[in-house]
């Protein structure tokens, strides 16, 4: 089965819920190696998206949902996360423009476009201790799963699992981008908050796909 607008809106709701649940944890992670605003900013952003969901047109397609998330995050989150996640969703929307139903190739394309958008804006590379360290393995896992003929749900599951490992992989790293980069070796032992929110969002995408499959 393919994924449609209902999955996309479910993903937004699940994202808003999981970000709200983990708001304090994200603030704590960010306070350790940043400035402590990541959870607050992301929660403000996704709450704003949630409030706008009802305004979507009846014939909205998944790209419309992704674009709504993009513009709302850009205009409400601030910090580095706003433009970075905003660009991710904007590029993701562009990757599936015009498609009412998303197949495995589309799902993999969404993730790849999102990752490429973040790299374009933030110019981070693998190993810089940023959200890219969660996105890169997620995109690779999704592509591999798709190449093996996996379903949309299995592709998103693979991406979420890889993102979790990627987020954990940031812990021993020295940061080379963002505010944690000023800490040098003192950033070692702390997880990158953007990588953690990435894993939460991708986990929400997979969970929403599982709900769609079980209905």
């Amino acid at each position: 089965m393919t994924l449609g607008t209902e999955w996309a809106t479910d993903w937004v709701r699940a994202s808003a819920a999981v970000i709200a649940e983990n708001r304090v944890e994200l603030i704590t992670l960010d306070r350790e190696i940043g400035d402590g605003d990541h959870g607050e900013n992301m929660d403000r952003g996704f709450s704003a998206v949630l409030a706008k969901l009802d305004g979507l047109a009846d014939d909205a397609i998944p790209a419309d949902v992704l674009k709504l998330v993009a513009t709302t995050l850009i205009s409400t989150v601030g910090g580095a996360s706003g433009p970075l996640f905003g660009t991710a969703y904007l590029k993701a929307a562009g990757a599936v423009a015009g498609r009412a139903e998303l197949d495995g190739a589309s799902v993999a394309a969404i993730l790849r476009a999102a990752r490429d958008g973040i790299v374009l804006r933030g110019k981070a590379e693998a190993g810089d201790k940023t959200m890219i360290d969660a996105w890169n393995p997620a995109v690779e896992a999704a592509d591999a799963a798709h190449a093996n003929g996996a379903s949309e749900l299995e592709i998103l599951e693979a991406a979420a699992t890889a993102a979790a490992e990627g987020a954990a992989s940031t812990e021993p790293l020295i940061a080379r981008k963002g505010r944690a980069s000023y800490l040098g070796e003192r950033a070692i032992g702390h997880r990158d908050p953007g990588a953690q929110s990435t894993l939460l969002l991708l986990r929400a995408a997979a969970d929403s796909a599982r709900n769609a499959a079980s209905e």
Binding site: R31, D35, G36, G78, P83, Y182
Partner: protein
Amino acid sequence: MKKLINDPKNVVTEAVEGFAAAHADIVRASADPLFLVRTDAPSDKVGIISGGGSGHEPLHGGFVGYGMLDAAVPGAVFTSPTPDPIVAATTAVDGGRGVLHIVKNYTGDVLNFETAADLAAAEGVDVRTVIVNDDVAVQDSLYTAGRRGVAGTVLVEKIAGAAAQRGDSLDDVTAVAEKVNAQVRSMGVALTPCVVPHAGEPSFHLEDDEIEIGIGIHGEPGREKIKLQPADAIVERLLGPIIDDIPFASGDRVLLLVNGMGGTPQVELFIAYRHAARVLADRGIEVTRSLVGNYTTSLEMQGMSLSVLKLDDELTELWDAPVQTAALRWGR
């Protein structure tokens, strides 16, 4: 932690409303999107805008007014503003001669101002950007997000603002802002951390006898923690890397800024100024202009930063030019 607030969510909007009410002769506030703008904007001069996370007051709102900024865009506490209010402020101050964005080099500020500049350009505004990165505490800037913009930003805003006020073109105002940034170096120290209102807990931990050298202005930890030392020793620890960086040399004329982080009393800032001026004099560096006070703060953090700007006749003249803002006011 006790704070004089009503609700953490409303800290910035209520502070901006109060600021605009207190300085109604100079600025007015736009509520949505949120920014502060000169009451006489736009005018027939180049517009100058700055902005960034709140919590650094009087930066930037306190520097809106004659001879300095045309608008300031405050974000949430320690969080860059989003592109929307930056675009709105940019178009509000554009009188047709273009707008300069003065941006502190923090990832979020740079990304949001970059996005806003693209959007404003699409609306036909000629926008230039100067990224301030005066903080020598950041080592290995090739392998980090680069040197941060700290208290030297005030000097960039004052001098670029004076250039715009006398009628310089966008190219010339941008060039003088870049010149100031190239000739100013800063470094800070924290005696205590600060508490972001919505976080409710200190941004980092310091023992009673510890200080943090190389602090940024967002409560983010700095270069190293050391034991508390006498003021003169701390001054030397900050001034050494500053002098060695450009480097400043015997015969130079400089402006010395001793900037409080918000929680340090003036009496301590002047103790620091006293020794900093002596250290510079011993090196043959003449302090011909000075500024001492809380100009780029980190909420209630105790601490200070030192900034040294190499002056020439042009920069001195622009520094001395009349200014009328909430936080800097002379000659008018």
